[in-house]
């Protein structure tokens, strides 16, 4: 009975205040979309880092079948060349600069590639043979990249030596800046949303002061009096959060999935499914912001 009563009160509150409720939905929608966009950029950065990014700084790619580099004139790397390179890495002259190194075979390279590009059509057209084996090196000091490069670039069997960080770091710093901007906009919008929710709840409390006055007099509990107002704000905010989640999914599906991944087939993009892990966070964020701001407003404007 009490539940039915509270639900009825929420319904009438939402109906009476339609314009305000719609504006709350829209403002939370926009603000949480920005929060979600920042989250998506971070997910995308993680995706692009792939398996090795956080573990090593320098990769020495070995010659494979299709290599055209000067050092690969003799064809794919031979086991002797590979052993030579490994002993060179272990020699004191080089070992003093590196923490450790790992060898990535063609099969392992294929496995890591598949993980990183799982959302891209390119994964179907690649075979383990096309991917080079490599030594992955964790430097003591990443700045000493030049020493490794000079030592190994001219060795037989080496296709190329790459400082991975340098390639991606510039892109990542741009993406981090973008997510910072998104978070700042989100911050401003969230403040808007909180104030708007507070105003809406205030109006709602005012337009129903007759009912709440009577409820107080006949001894309704604080919960019964306040809950409809709080849930009103929470419901509006949760609808906004759901819209934001849907928008993020649509961006990942249509923009990243259908458009960008065709333009840049050699870049790993996040899948629409991955954006859905942001949805619960957005729903909880929206709901709790609305709940807290309604509660604080009611404390001031609804005597119990």
């Amino acid at each position: 009975m009490r539940l039915a009563f509270i639900l009825g009160e929420i319904g009438s509150g939402l109906r009476r205040n339609v314009t305000m409720v719609v504006s709350v939905i829209l403002v939370t929608f926009v603000s949480l979309t920005f929060v979600g966009a920042a989250g998506m950029l971070q997910l995308q950065i993680n995706q692009m880092k792939g398996y090795w990014y956080d573990k090593v700084q320098v990769a020495i790619f070995l010659c494979s079948d299709g290599s055209t580099a000067a050092g690969c004139a003799t064809g794919p790397v031979t086991p002797e060349q590979q052993d030579n390179l490994q002993s060179l890495l272990e020699s004191p002259a080089v070992a003093q600069y590196i923490n450790d190194f790992q060898f990535e075979s063609k099969e392992e390279a294929y496995k890591h590639f598949k993980d990183q590009f799982s959302n891209s059509p390119i994964v179907d057209s690649v075979t383990p043979d096309q991917l080079p084996a490599s030594f992955r090196i964790n430097m003591k000091d990443p700045e000493k990249y030049q020493i490794i490069s000079e030592t190994f670039a001219s060795q037989p069997g080496v296709e190329t030596v790459i400082d991975q960080r340098q390639l991606l770091e510039r892109l990542f710093s741009a993406m981090n800046a973008a997510s910072l901007v998104a978070v700042s906009i989100a911050g401003v919008m969230i403040v808007c949303a909180i104030l708007l929710i507070a105003t809406t709840i205030r109006l709602s409390a005012f337009s129903r002061r007759r009912e709440t006055g009577i409820m107080r007099l006949v001894g309704a509990s604080k919960t019964v009096i306040q809950l409809p107002f709080i849930l009103e704000g929470v419901i509006a905010a949760v609808i906004g959060a759901a819209l934001a989640s849907g928008t993020l999914w649509a961006v990942a599906h249509f923009f990243l999935g259908e458009y960008l991944s065709k333009q840049y087939p050699d870049t790993a993009f996040i899948s629409p499914g991955q954006t859905l892990i942001l949805a619960p966070a957005l729903l909880i964020l929206g709901g709790s912001l609305a709940g807290i701001s309604s509660l604080l407003t009611l404390r001031r404007y609804l005597r119990v």
């Binding site: 009975m1 009490r2 007759r210 009912e211 007099l217 006949v218 001894g219 509990s221």
Partner: protein, 264 residues
């Protein structure tokens, strides 16, 4: 049922207290009128009983409980034991008679079947059977007040507080309302009614507590609106400009004129 022990209520430190060291006891099942001019402390008295305000000093007991010691989350329980009726009825305009009365039961979680059984019964008590589906604006003032009374007593409170319930009604209708209140009182509910209506008080011959400037100046059983006994401290009252319309009359008839001004 209601006991005030040396209760003082100060709203503003500079002004005189709204209630000044009031000692009063109203027993279970009693019917008491609270009379006095505007600003004499009647409403403050009712607010203190409901714990809408806190006494500045002294103790208020309701049903044996010191209201100052009731924690805020238990205040609803206190209020469930007290019904309240106002001069302006305070009905919900969009709800019909039945829904207005049922509202008081819904919000404290009574079941649908209990509500279906209780509301018609209470409406019958206040003389509104057959008008369940009317909206408040389709009712006369007296009928609206009956709805308000039904709502106040539907949860069977031990106490009914009425703050000038006949203030907006004509004398005949008022007498009808008094009949309803009397019936509720006969059923064992303690009724405290603040009023200016001298005809009603004179007709009912119940206990009368008169307040002036926050002080109880008279507490008589089976009394009239104006005292037959000369009131002490009349010379002080003469000097009080704010009380000029209450100038002590030479006779009860003279005071009747004063009350007439009050109703204007």
């Amino acid at each position: 049922m209601i006991r005030f022990e040396n209760v003082t209520k100060v709203y503003d430190q500079q002004a005189r207290p709204a209630l000044d060291a009031v000692n009063l006891e109203i027993d279970r099942g009693e019917f008491a009128f609270l009379v006095g001019a505007s600003g004499s402390g009647k409403s403050t008295f009712l607010r203190l009983v409901l714990k809408e305000d806190r006494a500045s000093s002294g103790a208020v007991y309701v049903a044996g409980q010191n209201v100052a010691k009731i924690s805020s989350w238990r205040v609803p329980r206190l209020r469930r034991g007290i019904g309240v009726v106002f001069q302006d009825f305070r009905l919900l305009p969009q709800k019909n008679v039945f829904a207005n009365v049922a509202f008081a039961m819904q919000v404290i979680g009574k079941s649908r079947s209990v509500i279906r059984d209780t509301v018609p019964e209470v409406l019958k008590t206040v003389g509104l059977e057959g008008k369940e589906n009317r909206l408040p604006h389709e009712l006369s003032g007296g009928e609206q007040q009956r709805v308000a009374i039904a709502r106040a007593v539907v949860n069977r409170p031990g106490i009914l507080l009425a703050d000038e319930p006949t203030g907006n009604l004509d004398p005949t209708t008022s007498m009808g309302i008094m009949g309803v209140l009397d019936k509720i009182n006969q059923n064992g509910t303690t009724v405290v009614m603040a009023t200016h209506d001298d005809d009603i008080v004179n007709e009912m011959r119940k206990r009368v507590v008169e307040l002036r400037n926050g002080v109880v100046i008279r507490d008589e059983a089976k009394a009239l609106y104006t005292s037959m006994i000369p009131v002490v401290g009349q010379s002080r009252r003469l000097k009080d400009a704010s009380d000029w319309e209450e100038l002590p009359p030479a006779s009860p008839e003279g005071h009747g004129d004063g009350a007439g001004e009050e109703q204007r």
